[in-house]
Each structure stands twice: as structure tokens, then as C-alpha cells.
Amino acid sequence: MISGQSSRRLPRALSVAVPLLAALLACGCGESVRYSPDLRYPARTDPIVDDPPKEQPWASEQPGRLDESIAEIPKKGGKITEPKSIDAGLRKALLAALNTTFGTPYAPQVGAAKGEDEGVVTQLVQLKVRDAKEDAPFHTLATGSKAFRFHCVHCHGLPGDGHGPTGPWVVPHPRDYRLGKFKFVSSAGGPPGKPRRDDLMRTLHQGIDGTSMPSFALLSDDELDGLASYVMHLSIRGEVEKDILTDLAAGNDYPDMADEVHTRMTMIVGQWAAADAKPIEPTKDSYKDLTTKQMAESIRRGYKLFSDPSGSASCIGCHQDYGRQVPFRYDKWGTLVRPANLTHGVYRGGRRPIDIFWRIKRGIDPSGMPPTGVTDDKDVWDVVNFVQAMPYPQMLPEDVRYKIYDRPPEEHPKTAVRVEK
């Protein structure tokens, strides 16, 4: 009974073991990290949020319910556009035109490799989305695509919709680039919410403290450059798609879809170029190094500007109780956000004084933080000094400290005093 079977068992076992081992050894090597060349960006089927709801959300989102909560937006008084309501033929034409202009995940591009308008080419090269050399104009994008698939797609999703497998489960949700807006921008020009390339690089370098976006500073410079360019590519593509879908849903028709896509692409690239041109620069000499006494005065002035509800700054209007008692609200992506708790000392867009200066000057457009009404940069720096001191009661002058933390000074934790400059 046994001897007959045993003579077949060894070769049979080996015929399973050897290919299995070979497969284990082969997977995970180099090239398999890239997108498959056959993969195409899918047509957008999730709703476009035209107007977020006006009503007050009383609870934070439930984990994993991103799709459902966006679908519920019309019930809450907002407006969405369903791409599925558009004629399938039109959507097919749109997808084909997008594929021509923007390529595939494996080989992304923005515009044609050869024969593209000179103006657009110049802008794209300046934005580093396109390389200067003619024979490989989209090499940086290809590097970015590879790094994106490896590090980013599980949160940010294939078309950059913030809907990767992890996306619905982290709050705040990963950025949906297709709206064409970003939160932490320092651009002096361009439409609200368009960042400079440096803003994207900064986010990659330092992550977003207080969220699930980590620092990617340990990647090589090439990969970081590629990632910033690829994110811009996804954003431009997504915004073109969103704008045309919205117009198609409103009843417009574009007989030459390829031309329409190209026109919109040109316009949006122009917006990115305008935003990237210059950062918001503080007026010369608006800031000087301050002595301890001068800093205390500056913090007092900043406190007054912050806390006067009828003044030009009136930050307290949204950052109620300095951020400790703030309700949620809807942002332009239809998800929940709330004014920051400034007593925590966690600054998502960066903790440097200039970062806080930029937040105040430019606002955070998609979240509903308006640019400040304060006109003099010296006053803005006062608010910055106050904001930076807020998490550290010991750094606030006594009269201000009592208004924010009403405890006597003996009960504050002992911390070092800032050295007199």
C-alpha cells in the first residue's frame, strides 16, 4: 500500500515546492512596484460636491462612512452632481480625451509630448511637471508615479481622490486633489486654495502634524520632486474632469471634447503657474527680534486683535474659546472640519512663525478660514506671537493668561522662561 505511493510523493512534492519558492523569491523585486502599463485612470463615478451642507453637524463622522456621508449631502441642504446622471457616450468621450492629454498612471503626462503650445510648456517646465529635455519630457512624472504607488496610493487613491483603502478610515481624510484646492498655501497670486510647489514639498518634508500624513523626508530628492509633480498632475487632471462633468450635467455639450479638455488644462496650468510665481512676503521690517518686554506687549496687542469680535481680525468668532469649544462644519470637500484648538500647540500647516503668518494672511480657503481683514503686517505678527504663546500659559502676560486659562499662576506647570534677547 505504501511503497507504491511513496515513489510518486517526492517528485510531486517537489513539483509544488519549487515553483512556490521561485514565486516567493521573485515577487517584490523592483519593477513590480510600478503601475501596470495596461492600467487606466477610471472614469469618475463618485459625486461632485457643488455646495457643502449649510446645517450644523453635531457629531464627527463615523469611521469608514465617507461614501455614505457624501451621498447624504443633498438631504442636509447641500448640492452634489452625480456623474452617472450624464449620458454614457459623453462620459466615454471625456475619458478618452483625458487619457490623451494626461496619459496613464504608468506613463503620466500633462499635454502632448511633442507639439504642445509653447506657453503651456514653459509654465509646466517652471512648475517642474515637465522636464526641460525634449526626449524625456515626463521623466519626473514617471518617477513620481512609481513613488506614489508605493507610498501614497493606499490613502490618496489611484486618481488622487483621497479614497484609497485607508482613506475612509482616517480623519481627517487624505486630500482629494481633484477639487484643485489645498489647505496650507503660501501663494500670493492664483485663485484661492492653489498652492506653490514649495508648499507641496514642505508637506512632503514635514508631514502634517496631528494627522495621518507622515513626513517623507527620508525619500531621495528625486522621489520627492517626482511626488510633488505627480500630485500636481493628478490635481490638474482631476480638476479638468470635475469642471467638464459639472458642465455636462448642466446640459452643456462639447462636440470637440479633446479640444475642450486641452483648453481647460491650459487654463488650470495657468492658475498653478500664477500661484507658484510668488510667495506671500511680509512687508519689509514688519518684524524685528523683540526683547521679553516687547514680546509681552506684542502678545497683548495680538490678544486684543484676536479676541475682539467686531475688529478686523476677530479670530475669536470661529476659534471660540481659543479653539476649545468649536463645533464642526463642512468643508468644500463635503467632509467635516473645525477651527483649530490653538491651545494645543499642534499646527498642521507648520509651526514656524512664517507658516502661521501665511495661514492668517491667506486663510485656509477650502476649510472656510477667510484671509484676514488686518492690513498692517506688523499687526499680523502680533497675532502670530499671541497664537504661538497660547499653548504655554507661562509665556502669556498675566492679564492675558487669566482671560484664557483662569487659574492662579502657582498652578501652572513650571517651564523655563524665554531668555532675554
Partner: protein, 295 residues
């Protein structure tokens, strides 16, 4: 035919043993060890490896021999063995004695590394907060702190602290004390080149200490970055050693040991200045971005 299985096992195990014996000589062994107590940790490792290695090779050799010698033979009648009481007591006692010895031999090293009461007075106190999936590391502006002050500072951040992701800096021969926290799940702050790791538990602040006996960088003020060693083995890393979710594999950081306290202070001053910037800059983030571990 059955005997071939025994041979096959013996061959595979023999190949594995050969690979293990060869590995220290082809660079597949432990990373560089620069901790002051690192030698003792590695000694313990080698002793335990020797003991368990010898026993392992013996038992596996016996296993293969038995597979070969007692392979199924239809002619042979099975032996009915009731067990050997004395043999079983002997090998249980022998194993227990060895294990007990190991347990006591390692106590002094464990004490010196882990017991709070035996940690030396720190030259530098750093606070590390783990979260999914990176390390947020906080340095005091006032570098020198006493033990008690350092502990209080770990709980109460100050306005002039430097915050950096994923970079741990110290200097050669400094007693470095780290206070470890986590914002979400259990992580483990691992420094393979210092033979040190510590689980970070939610709700706790856990002290750890080390002294690095060699340096691997120098602050380059002109370039605004730390010099990178050409030798990849000297690019020391921080690794998360407790599975903490989907990004656990890339929860890495870099360990930079400056050659002197002055060099460290120069680096710290520059970073604090960058963190206190009131001007837009073209290079984003705090200066001195570390080089990729892959390069």
C-alpha cells in the same frame, strides 16, 4: 526510497547551517554596535546562540539520522518502548539548569540598561512621541537639564523646543535620556546600532538611555546639512519594532551622533533659527534634511 527523505532533510539543514556559519563573514550579521553597553548585549546574544546552536544542531542531526536509519521497512517489526524515566528527568533538569543560568546571567545587563534608578545623569534629554507612522522628536533649547528638570520638561513642552520628524541627534559619549510616548497604538522605538529598543505604551511616558561611543556625522553650517557618511553601515537608523498598522514598515528615522557637544549645539541653533523663521524660503522644512536610507 524512504531513506531519501532523510537525506533530503539532512542536505537542506546542512545548507542552512553552512549559510549561518558563513553569514558573519559576508556582511549578513549584526549592524554596527556603538553603544557603551552594546558589547555586553552582544556577548549575551553570542552565549545564548552558542548554547542553543549546539543543542539545535545535535537534535537536528539526530532527527535526520533517525529518519535515515529507521525509515519504513516492511520487514522490520516495530519496537514497543514505554519510555525511559531517567532519561527524561535528566534532559529536563539539564535544560532547566541552563535556562536558569541564562536568566541570572543577563540580570546585570538588563538592570544597567532598563532600570530608571540606575540610569546615569543625562547630558541631553529628548522627548520622542510615536504616532502612526512617524516619530516626532522634541529637543529642548536649553540643552543641559538635570534629571528632575528633564522629567518635568518631558511632560510640559516649552515654547522654544525644537520639533523634528524622524531625526534623533546627540553627540559622542553623551548620556542621552529619551522620554518615550505614543499618541495612538503601541509602537517600539528601536535603535539597532545601540542595541536598544523600548515599547511605547499609550498613556505612559517611558524613560530610556544610551551613550554612543562613536560619531557618524558632522554639522556642515555652510551647506545647512549634516554630513552623510559614505559607508552605508554608518547610516544609523531608528526603526519601529512593534507592528503598528499599515505604515509600520516605513516608520523609520535616522540617528545622527555629532562628534562633540559644540557641533551638536551648532546644529541645534541652526534648526531653532529655521523653526523661528519669519521669511519665506525656497528650501522647505527645517534645514538639514536627512539623506535617504536607501542610497
Amino acid at each position: 526510497m524512504q531513506k531519501l527523505w532523510g537525506l533530503f532533510f539532512a542536505l537542506v539543514l546542512g545548507a542552512i547551517l553552512a549559510l549561518c556559519l558563513v553569514s558573519p563573514f559576508v556582511g549578513w550579521w549584526m549592524p554596527q554596535n556603538v553603544a557603551s553597553y552594546g558589547g555586553e548585549v552582544d556577548n549575551l546574544f553570542n552565549i545564548i546562540l552558542a548554547i542553543t546552536g549546539v543543542v539545535f544542531v545535535l537534535t537536528e542531526a539526530l532527527l535526520c539520522w533517525f529518519m535515515f536509519r529507521y525509515a519504513y521497512d516492511p520487514q522490520r517489526k516495530a519496537l514497543y518502548v514505554e519510555g525511559n524515566h531517567r532519561l527524561e528527568i535528566t534532559w529536563t533538569l539539564a535544560t532547566s539548569v541552563v535556562l536558569l543560568w541564562i536568566a541570572f546571567a543577563q540580570v546585570s545587563v538588563w538592570e544597567r540598561i532598563k532600570y530608571q534608578g540606575l540610569m546615569p545623569e543625562p547630558h541631553l534629554v529628548v522627548q520622542v512621541t510615536a504616532h502612526q507612522w512617524e516619530w516626532r522628536i522634541r529637543y529642548p533649547e536649553e540643552v543641559t537639564k538635570t534629571d528632575a528638570d528633564g522629567r518635568a520638561w518631558a511632560e510640559s513642552p516649552e515654547i522654544d523646543d525644537l520639533h523634528l520628524p524622524n531625526e534623533l541627534h546627540t553627540w559622542k559619549n553623551a548620556n542621552t535620556r529619551i522620554y518615550l510616548k505614543t499618541q495612538d497604538v503601541i509602537h517600539s522605538f528601536g535603535l539597532p546600532n545601540l542595541r536598544l529598543m523600548q515599547d511605547a505604551l499609550p498613556g505612559k511616558t517611558i524613560p530610556m538611555w544610551f551613550k554612543a561611543t562613536e560619531s557618524n556625522t558632522q554639522w556642515d553650517e555652510a551647506a545647512g546639512r549634516c554630513e552623510e557618511p559614505d559607508d552605508a553601515a554608518r547610516r544609523w537608523e531608528i526603526a519601529c519594532k512593534e507592528l503598528c498598522g499599515g505604515g509600520h514598515y516605513r516608520m523609520r528615522g535616522r540617528l545622527y551622533v555629532h562628534p562633540s557637544e559644540d557641533d551638536f549645539r551648532a546644529w541645534l541653533r541652526y534648526q531653532l533659527k529655521a523653526q523661528n523663521s519669519h521669511e519665506p524660503e525656497t528650501h522647505p522644512g527645517a534645514a538639514g534634511t536627512p539623506v535617504a536610507l536607501q542610497k
